[in-house]
Symmetry: C2
Amino acid sequence: MTYGQLAPPGALADGGLRIVALGGIGEIGRNMTVFEYGGRLLVVDCGVLFPEDQQPGVDLILPDFRAIEPRLDDIDAIVLTHGHEDHIGAVPFLLRHRPDLPVVGSRFTLALVAAKCREHRLTPRLVEVAEGGRVGFGEFDCEFFAVNHSIPDALAVAIRTPAGLVLHTGDIKLDQLPLDGRLTDLAGFSRLGDEGVDLFLVDSTNAEVPGFVMAEREIGPVLDNVISRAGQRVIVACFASHVHRVQQVLDVAIAHDRRVALVGRSMVRNMGIAAELGLLRVPDGLLVDLAEAMELPEHQVLFVSTGSQGEPLSALSRMARGEHRQIRIRPGDTVVLASSMIPGNETAVFGVVNGLARLGASVVHQGNAKVHVSGHASAGELLFLYNAVRPSNVMPVHGEWRHLRANAALAVATGVPAENVVLAEDGVVVDLVDGRASIVGRVEVGHVYVDGLSVGDVGESTLSDRLILGEGGFIAITVAVDSTTGRPLGPPTISGRGFSDDPKALDEVMSLVEMELSHTESEGITDTHRIAQSVRRVVGRWVADTYRRRPMIVPTVIPV
Amino acid sequence: MTYGQLAPPGALADGGLRIVALGGIGEIGRNMTVFEYGGRLLVVDCGVLFPEDQQPGVDLILPDFRAIEPRLDDIDAIVLTHGHEDHIGAVPFLLRHRPDLPVVGSRFTLALVAAKCREHRLTPRLVEVAEGGRVGFGEFDCEFFAVNHSIPDALAVAIRTPAGLVLHTGDIKLDQLPLDGRLTDLAGFSRLGDEGVDLFLVDSTNAEVPGFVMAEREIGPVLDNVISRAGQRVIVACFASHVHRVQQVLDVAIAHDRRVALVGRSMVRNMGIAAELGLLRVPDGLLVDLAEAMELPEHQVLFVSTGSQGEPLSALSRMARGEHRQIRIRPGDTVVLASSMIPGNETAVFGVVNGLARLGASVVHQGNAKVHVSGHASAGELLFLYNAVRPSNVMPVHGEWRHLRANAALAVATGVPAENVVLAEDGVVVDLVDGRASIVGRVEVGHVYVDGLSVGDVGESTLSDRLILGEGGFIAITVAVDSTTGRPLGPPTISGRGFSDDPKALDEVMSLVEMELSHTESEGITDTHRIAQSVRRVVGRWVADTYRRRPMIVPTVIPV
């Protein structure tokens, strides 16, 4: 069966549970899963996806809400598993439709959501929950379990309806010595397993990676080793939500008598929230602001910065280009990228690394030191999960197709029958009926782009034009014609942008166009659209033959 | 010292040797190093670089020949270390200037160069050399050494002039059990070390990677394991020049009674050359063409294909999209990507992997099995090289800045004084005088782009326009005005491409522009350039305020 051939699903069977992802399956990002029971809906996560090369100019990609837009009033709540952007980033866009929707999550998650909503001038209705808690939202009885991930306070959610018990891991790993002692509640999962889990939705991100993720706390000694040898300034870049990573950096800074300045708006904000909630221990006097830091001797300061993904406007990128206003990299400085590279960001990140290296900094990164561990369970950990939960049905989530297949294979290896492992993707509708999960159809799920202030007006046709323009630029030909005779009024204006540096490149086009215009005139063509088409054809062919290029040809014929 | 501040160098001291890279230092690709002695030049390698996201529409990037263009007649020869594109790809472009230039290389290298030159309708003057050979080219006495790399018949070159002995590794690794038994000639390097190497140019690509590259022959058993378990069709993608990798695939195919079809023009061509030169053993009857392969039972066929880098037009990409004319992927097929991912290609490669996985293929790649080893020496091997050669001066080549620094650190660790390690980049001029290498200045080296049939007419300003257009599209406003009064003749024509899917997005612009035109008319402005500027400003500001986007604003004012 090809997924593309699936038809829209029929009605949900009485007593059945319907599951459909509007984002996050078949891709990594914009996670959003909708559960339906008895005519009511529960949303788990509502995140954004960051664009790739093929989506130029796009700032964010949202889950596609179309499937639920006619039924917004049926939603009982939105449950958030943790505070990463790919799980909470689209919440404000959903709240625009339903500002009263209860937003359910842990303390830290909700603090990040509240901050985000403030930027959107929204005041969400927040419902705080914690591990061990059990709360009903309409038809959905939700129980929460502690989960270990690369952000504090992450939760898995078990959803009970008369259709059965569903467990959704959110993002998860099984660090057995977590920095905060908050283990993934495998015991709780086992208890659910005893009760009988009908459907298990499992994080697939690292399913292809064999073995186990190294413990977060093993990074501390590596950082200590690097920073103890640094004789000058140290800059550590990491994700702005990775509280435990920052904690380890702070601890090392303290050990080596360095003060710490936080650099980057989101770093300052998130660490403020974390400290306030008691998730980050910051001794008095440790933090200084940037101006104070610049006054300190170089071996007594450490900067914790954003920009670990090579974002061109970040402080770190500016340092790498020698353009940062305060911090100028000098030979002997040490920079640590204590972070992964999100796929697609490699070129940007290594651009920053090379810029820093060129200026003489010693750059420590994932590629040459163990300064990062993943937040997602590797294959070995996923096996532990499957063996604890012993699910009847499995649905791999949070992954591209290669991850979903690898995760499915792990489920099967632990004894889940292959026919009970549902490989879905965004929009594919899965019904859990009589204890059996199966694909029943699909709803349309597209990419919803945010570009600047607008949502949704940039679609595939605009992106396709951008890609053509980006590859080859355009050649514009403008001419005014007498609207009754089609006679050109003066010579055409020909200009190209993104086509060639050579000002004479288009000189030949002028005579080509003039010839074509006298031809259309002699044919008695006065329809400006037809004249434009002729000009486009002639110029396009000439450019292809002469240059083997495909700029956009933009003829404008003005009737006067 | 900042490299950007270096001035052009003064005259080369009598008896000195000058070295400048026109590509390949500070970047990976378009390797080209020029040696100058006694007024004469020797070029080592002349390759291309493949473009990145920031160079849209570009097909190839060439070394910048400007520094040698006034002195083309002084070049004695061009020596090629091996046949990869980043070492030979720009040869035809140099030969256009000097068709008579001797092109020196090993048998396989020259066979690839000859094939490439045929496509450019050039008949190069080829000079075949082999390991152990010593040949003079003008002032330059060249000795060649066998080198192990990911292509057969690679050479290092020792260049003797009265200024001293220089050793250039080309691309190199130290596989101690190479498939063809042709070891990197470490004994020869040691002999040179005994003689005294004044300057050692060393491949930096893997200098950041600790340890040693696994032997190529260890891939065979992995391939055997994968292919022995395959019940249906097997497709193996790898680099079209990796003869030893293909050899191992052929051997496994033979072991499992599969016939082999080669897919992709360069694969067919290169393997033909390799077989003819005795570098690839192909038993009679093993190879079949695609049509024959399609007639065979699925478990008796294996395809060796190009497309391992996710090239969108390759056979493999078309299979992944379900668009290949003959080969349709079905659940249970096996695809092996026996290749690295060239940095920057990750998204494209994983796009292909996901497409194949979605169609049900089992996809084996570098990320989940040991089906690739690098062709470049890791840090451990580089230490062996430094300890064998014991150079007086070192110049890391073939690498981005992070690789150059890592390589420099290795040289220093083996005892080379730090001040004798020259960290140059493209265009930085290094003189070897009295046994001491030092930076003496720089010449300008830019990026020379090939786009379609033209070389050099696409430069930074065109690329910058392409990036703007690719991010935001354009809005074109065209209006005819009375050239004496500046009065608009009819309403302006407003169109946008790559800006918004919403046809009404620009409706407001019309009245804005009309207002501005009546303003310029009332001010008595008739200069079309000034009118256009006013229109651009007004529209640009409106778009920025309304959409927070930055399309290119293209006003055309036609005087009638």
